[in-house]
């Protein structure tokens, strides 16, 4: 079990690292977000197996639903942003500066 958890942790770490490091592209950002969600889902599945409770998998089911919806909306927003600024470089999105 420890190995499985280590795997999930590594996925999470890479996801977070990618979230912080990625600068050029918002798409990369969204993809790293997906990796993080995947890591969480994996965690749930692992625990569902090892604690014998299938509710973990039910939870994954719902998380996947939400993640898909959220990605779709995120991409829609991305398209809108691109229409305005003609660039999806993360550095260019600073209009909320106060």
């Amino acid at each position: 079990m420890f190995n499985y958890l280590l795997f999930s942790t590594l996925l999470l770490t890479f996801g977070i690292a990618g979230l912080i490091i990625s600068r050029k592209n918002i798409i990369i950002l969204l993809m790293c977000l997906e990796i993080i969600l995947l890591a969480a889902n994996t965690n749930f599945v692992i625990f569902a197996k090892f604690w014998g409770d299938i509710a973990g998998q039910a939870f994954v089911f719902f998380v996947m639903t939400v993640a898909a919806a959220e990605t779709a909306i995120g991409l829609a927003l991305l398209v809108l942003v691109f229409r305005q600024k003609n660039s999806i470089n993360v550095d260019d999105l600073n209009q909320l500066q106060g």
């Binding site: 977070i16 979230l19 912080i20 990625s22 950002l29 999105l93 500066q97």
Partner: protein, 656 residues
């Protein structure tokens, strides 16, 4: 007694009603409504007050101490509006309402051409209300309310012709000096509250013997211990000093003559200035236990009495002469208070109200007849054209100097006798001063009468345009109204005063009780006193004064000028009013201004504006600018902070 309570409420409410209606109506209210309403209300108050007084005389009523309304409560202290109606109160109420009524009627004629007619009536009705509240109070809070209110209305009335700079200055002076006295007064009230835990008269008076037994002391400066009761009484007396214009807080009274004559009569002769005397008399249970305070009062009264009288001799304004005369007579009252002759002091207050108001109103009559000319050197020979006024003024002056038979004689001579009998330190000094003052009083009264009414006519041409005649009936009627008590009241009331009409409210310790001694040993009735008056020392003083005055003004008219030329130093001193005004204006005021300036610069601007408010506001602005930098607008910054927060939380839970 229910009936007395309702009567008292009515007495107080009527002038207030008049003041409110006239005040709110002001220019829209026709003049006749204003004066009918005001006179009617004050007349009603007077009738009811006389009824109450009569009720007390015939023992129909007993003392009433009742709370009307709980104004506020703070901790255990209850501040109420209440009435204490006893004989002293009834007497004062009658005096106040009677003189107020006379002045109201007088005003109808005097202020006829003035544009602020309604405003004046509003103010004098308001004054009547305030004074009534003051005398009918049953606790210190209400007393103080009335105290301040009369001070306020006095300021409003002195500065009635506010376009005149001198009037506003005089009004401010009166109010500020009253405020200075009020400082002492408030300290006294605070001390009373501290020691007696209550502001209610009866509660305090009951607890006094217990308090005296404790012998508490207050350290004013570290190292000096003063008896607490003395401190309280002296503080209260400071308030009385300002209100009743004793030296050194007397400087406002001569300047207050800037106001119209009716108010000089009402406020600065009969009522407001007597508030201080009334207060001390009312607090006689307190004052009796402090010989220090009593001595102080005697001495100050003596100083005021004598020195202010001397100043009256050199004045050229008719109203100022009467003003200084008021100061002098107030000195008499305070002397009487000092020697524990409270009844005599109140009695003198009572008679003085009548003849002083008479003098002022008579002076006003002259002023109006000569078209607002106030310099006595520009008057003369008026007895031909204004006989009634002349007669009234002569009656008033006789009462003032204490000619045997007039009421002034009874009250003034009583005071002089009692002062002679008293044992407290300073009494004999006061006796001497009082005797000399009789002399001085005669001199200036005679001077006034002669220069104004007799001799050659020295009026300027512009007043000669129209022939001088008696002013309207509304002006003359109060003169007659006041002249009668100036003569009659003395003989009637002396027996009852001495006999203890005011025994209940006024408390005298046996060892101080000169009144009792006089009553038992020397008093043989009003008639006897009258006859004896012709051979007493005061009468001698009077005759001496009369002779000197006759010499100076009739026999050798140039004598005063010679004296003036030769005694330049004395004249200069007198004209500078002993330097009190100069002291206040040149030394004390700049000092206060410097302190105030310092407080403003350091306290206000530096401390409050810059440090407290400035740093708070500036601090907030700076912090917010700092926080603004957090809002970079960059997505990845926000993401990083989310992740860093998550990490911190994780580590925190793990390791803490």
């Amino acid at each position: 007694m229910e009936q007395l309570y309702y009567i008292a409420l009515t007495i107080v409410s009527l002038p207030l009603l008049a003041a409110l209606v006239i005040g709110l109506g002001n220019k829209k209210l026709p003049r006749y409504i204003a004066h009918w309403l005001a006179c009617g209300c004050v007349g009603g108050s007077f009738v009811l007050s006389a009824y109450v007084l009569f009720g007390f005389i015939t023992n129909k009523y007993v003392d009433l101490d009742i709370n009307v309304y709980l104004w506020g409560q703070s901790g255990g202290l209850q501040i109420t509006v209440g009435f204490l109606i006893d004989r002293l109160t009834a007497l004062m109420m009658s005096v106040v309402s009677f003189v107020s009524l006379a002045v109201h009627i007088y005003t109808i004629g005097y202020m006829q051409e003035d544009p602020g007619y309604q405003r004046f009536f509003c103010y004098i009705s308001l004054f009547t209300f305030s004074m009534l509240m003051l005398v009918m109070a049953n606790n210190f809070a209400q007393l103080f309310f009335g105290w301040e209110a009369v001070g306020l209305v006095s300021y409003l009335l002195i500065g009635f012709w506010y376009q005149r700079d001198s009037a506003t200055f005089a009004g401010l002076k009166a109010f500020i000096i009253n405020r200075i006295g009020d400082l002492g007064f408030i300290l006294g009230i605070a001390a009373i509250l501290y020691y007696f835990d209550s502001l209610h008269y009866q509660t305090i008076f009951k607890d006094i013997p217990k308090f005296i037994a404790t012998n508490s002391t207050i350290a004013i400066w570290p190292g000096t211990e003063w008896l607490a009761i003395s401190v309280i009484c002296i503080c209260l007396f400071i308030g009385a000093m300002a209100k009743s214009a004793q030296v050194p807080l007397h400087v406002w009274l001569p300047d207050s003559m800037e106001g119209p004559t009716p108010i000089s009569a009402l406020i600065h002769a009969a009522t407001m200035v007597t508030a201080g005397v009334f207060m001390v008399a009312r607090m006689s249970p307190l004052f009796e236990y402090s010989t220090t305070a009593l001595s102080l009062m005697t001495v100050i009264g003596a100083i005021t009495c004598l020195f202010m009288g001397i100043l009256a001799v050199i004045q050229s304004d008719i109203k100022r002469i009467v003003a200084y005369s008021t100061l002098s007579q107030l000195g008499y009252m305070v002397i009487a208070l000092g020697v524990s002759a409270y009844s005599a002091a109140i009695f003198h207050l009572f008679t003085h109200a009548f003849f002083k108001a008479l003098l002022f109103l008579g002076a006003g009559s002259v002023i109006v007849a000569l078209h607002h000319e106030q310099n006595i050197f520009k008057m003369g020979g008026l007895y031909r054209s204004m006989p009634l006024t002349t007669a009234a003024m002569i009656v008033g002056s006789l009462a003032l100097v204490g000619f045997p038979g007039t009421s002034g004689f009874y009250s003034k001579d009583l005071i002089i006798e009692l002062t002679h009998k008293s044992q407290i330190p300073g009494a004999q000094l006061a006796y001497a001063a009082a005797l000399i003052t009789v002399f001085i009083t005669t001199v200036y009264s005679f001077r006034l009468i002669y220069l104004v009414f007799f001799g050659n006519e020295r009026m300027e041409d512009n007043t000669h345009m129209q022939p001088v005649h008696e002013p309207a009936k509304t002006i003359l009627f109060p003169l007659v109204l006041l002249a009668i008590p100036s003569i009659a009241v003395g003989g009637i009331m002396i027996k009852s005063t001495l006999d203890g009409f005011l025994q209940g409210p006024l408390f005298v310790l046996a060892k101080h009780d000169v009144t009792q001694q006089f009553l038992q040993m020397d008093f043989h009735g009003a008639l006897a006193m009258f006859l004896h008056g012709f051979i007493s020392l005061p009468f001698l003083s009077l005759l001496l004064g009369g002779c000197i005055a006759w010499l100076c003004y009739i026999k050798y008219p140039l004598l005063p000028q010679v004296l003036q030329r030769d005694g330049k130093l004395l004249v200069a001193l007198l004209q500078a009013k002993y330097g009190f005004d100069a002291l206040y204006e040149k030394i004390l005021m700049p000092l206060v201004r410097v302190v105030g300036n310092y407080c403003w610069r350091i306290g206000d601007i530096l401390l409050i504006d810059r440090v407290l408010i400035g740093s708070t506001v500036q601090g907030i602005v700076r912090i917010s600018v700092l926080l603004q930098k957090l809002q970079t607008g960059y997505l990845y910054h926000y993401i990083f902070i989310i992740i860093a927060g998550l990490l911190a939380l994780l580590l925190g839970i793990m390791y803490l």
